[in-house]
Symmetry: C2
Subunit: 367 residues, 2 copies
């Protein structure tokens, strides 16, 4: 980004400036190679090293156990909504449990229904997807092909802060908080995440799966939809999105070398989100938060203003001050500030300051 401009886009989202600067330096010709990363073959030694390094970085950051495979695929989380049930539910006598805490989980279960029995173990619709369920609220199957949940609902700004449990391998759509905090990978059967929030640009999706699940993949799947084939080919069943994988590798390297660990990243993300939630708590009738406090997302801070008109004015003024892409998802409206890993503290402070000034100008009686 240019100086003084901050994007709060929910994804594709802000990337670390040192990564963008390295991309700029090398995008015409990689140092020592002379060819652009946009021109490099997916079968080149250079790209083999990119994939290996990206895998190694993810393994270190997330402490991924040896018996898990890391894949780099295309099609976004949305294709995973289909691949998960194709590979793990098709032909199974067991149901798959789905925990629905927002828009993406709802879309995921729709695809699962095409492949088998998809059981909704929890649906937060009645409270408008404003919180995650307690363990007692889950209506789990006694035995499930898998238990699916969405760790962070980007649209509603609702996040699990304790990992749920179920009666089958836990499958997590971690798209919008992947790499924002530690995850106990050993407790999951499969984790998937599109890159364009915390891990890189749009166009590559990470899948981390426990190897024994590959044995459950039914025969006859189309090659590109079959985890076994991707695993066997080391994510090179077809031409990988080379450039996107390279940027993902650079982002994971930045996490290791500049931030240090996901524990530290989590601490910083907590501090950034806190700056905005404090304002919501201070002016609860003006900045009306969507998520209930215990389920507030550290990634997407969602709120409404008292009127549509004020919301529009808020967005327009913010934009004119270089605070971009704050509009809430078209399905829920309001304001959404996405504070992914690469969101600089300065951007959040600028937004906080703007929010405080805006409320003073428009609702002085509340201040």
């Amino acid at each position: 980004m240019a100086q003084g401009v901050f994007t709060f886009s929910p994804g594709p989202a802000v990337l670390p400036l040192p990564v963008l600067e390295q991309v700029k330096r090398e995008v015409v010709a990689l140092e020592g190679i002379g060819i652009s990363p946009l021109e490099m073959s997916h079968r080149s030694a250079w790209f083999a090293q990119v994939l290996e390094q990206a895998t190694e970085n993810l393994r270190r950051l997330l402490r991924i156990p040896e018996n898990y495979t890391v894949l780099f695929l295309q099609g976004g989380a949305r294709l995973q909504f289909s691949m998960v049930p194709m590979n793990l539910l098709r032909g199974s006598k067991l149901p798959a449990d789905y925990i629905l805490t927002g828009s993406w989980g709802k879309k995921a279960v729709e695809e699962a229904r095409r492949e088998g029995q998809a059981h909704v173990a929890y649906d937060g619709q009645e409270h408008n997807y404003s919180r995650v369920p307690s363990a007692e609220e889950l209506q789990l199957s006694p035995q499930a092909a898998y238990v699916h949940f969405t760790s962070n609902e980007t649209i509603q700004g609702v996040q699990f802060h304790q990992w749920p449990e179920g009666n089958g391998p836990l499958v997590c759509d971690a798209s919008s908080d992947f790499l924002s905090r530690p995850m106990p990978v050993e407790r999951f059967g499969l984790i998937y995440a599109c890159a364009q929030k915390n891990a890189g640009p749009a166009g590559v999706t990470v899948v981390i799966l426990r190897n024994d699940l590959l044995e459950r993949v039914p025969p006859g799947l189309h090659s590109m939809l079959d985890y076994r084939q991707h695993a066997k080919a080391g994510s090179l069943l077809n031409t990988a999105p080379v450039f996107a994988c390279w940027v993902l590798m650079l982002v994971t390297r930045w996490l290791l070398e500049e931030i240090g660990s996901l524990e530290e990243m989590h601490r910083r993300n907590q501090a950034k989100a806190q700056l905005l939630y404090e304002v919501l708590d201070q002016y609860p009738d003006f900045y009306i938060g969507h998520a209930q406090p215990q389920s507030r997302s550290l990634m997407n801070v969602t709120f409404r203003l008292p009127s549509e008109e004020l919301t529009r004015e808020f967005l327009a003024q913010a934009d004119s001050q270089g605070l971009k892409e704050l509009k809430g998802h078209r399905s829920v409206g309001g304001v959404r500030a996405s504070l992914y890993n690469a969101q600089p503290l300065e951007g959040v402070e600028r937004l906080r300051e703007f929010m405080l000034q805006f409320v003073k100008r428009h609702a002085p009686s509340r201040c």
Copy 2:
């Protein structure tokens, strides 16, 4: 690419230098916007314009009729191997005819068999996929759900120079010669092409389809595999590979503004390929071409040397002189020089010169 370095990679492949230079200028912050194209939302006004411009450029270059839809998808041609039969063969009483002229066609028909009756109307295996068939050689079904062929087989270097005809909508995998020459789109039902040869970087795939085919799509397909849903959503069913689409738009703009037309591009591609095929014709016992003359590809010039040892030496020496990625595909060996649109004439001249010197040094008696 750096000066003096040329990549003959079969894809991801060489891109126009002015495009790479624009990417370099704007990759940290788009001019007038201040946000990186790697950070831009797929729902932004900027990206809406990118997609619109890319579509418009393709429509102008290929003279795509109004009753065709242009889609930008993920998953490469390889996912199209599956999506074509899922959408157009599943549930059909008719067979789909497949014309096999090389490795990619063979892979395409394997996926089609999962969805219905895939009839091989021609298989060039007996002559090791060294040419395309004549019209008389095709064993077409009287009526076909569609007729599939691969306009250019990248691995074998075999290209159709006259479009085949069949008894059903013509479906073309144009991955490796898309935008290298004019195509009479009105004669096709569906054309698909991954971008990483002539159209952009890896990670985006173009599908051009005649609208009436959408009516044949069976119910119950997974959303991401359903052409209707992608068409309805204007290629924004999920997060598009924003950056790859932007580069594709820049490449198509370069074609329009720098080259002028596909007729002119074709002329230049013919001239470039001719420079190498002349050498093959001059030394047919030393540079042993794979493709028969009438089926020679303008995109991928494939040949062997008299021994494995000479091939290795050829590749090593070429590489040391900045002529990169000339190794033939691992399934056929030998040498492959890919001469896509953005391959500069200078690169081809350098390779021709190298070939002439190499044969003089290693087989002076033949000169």
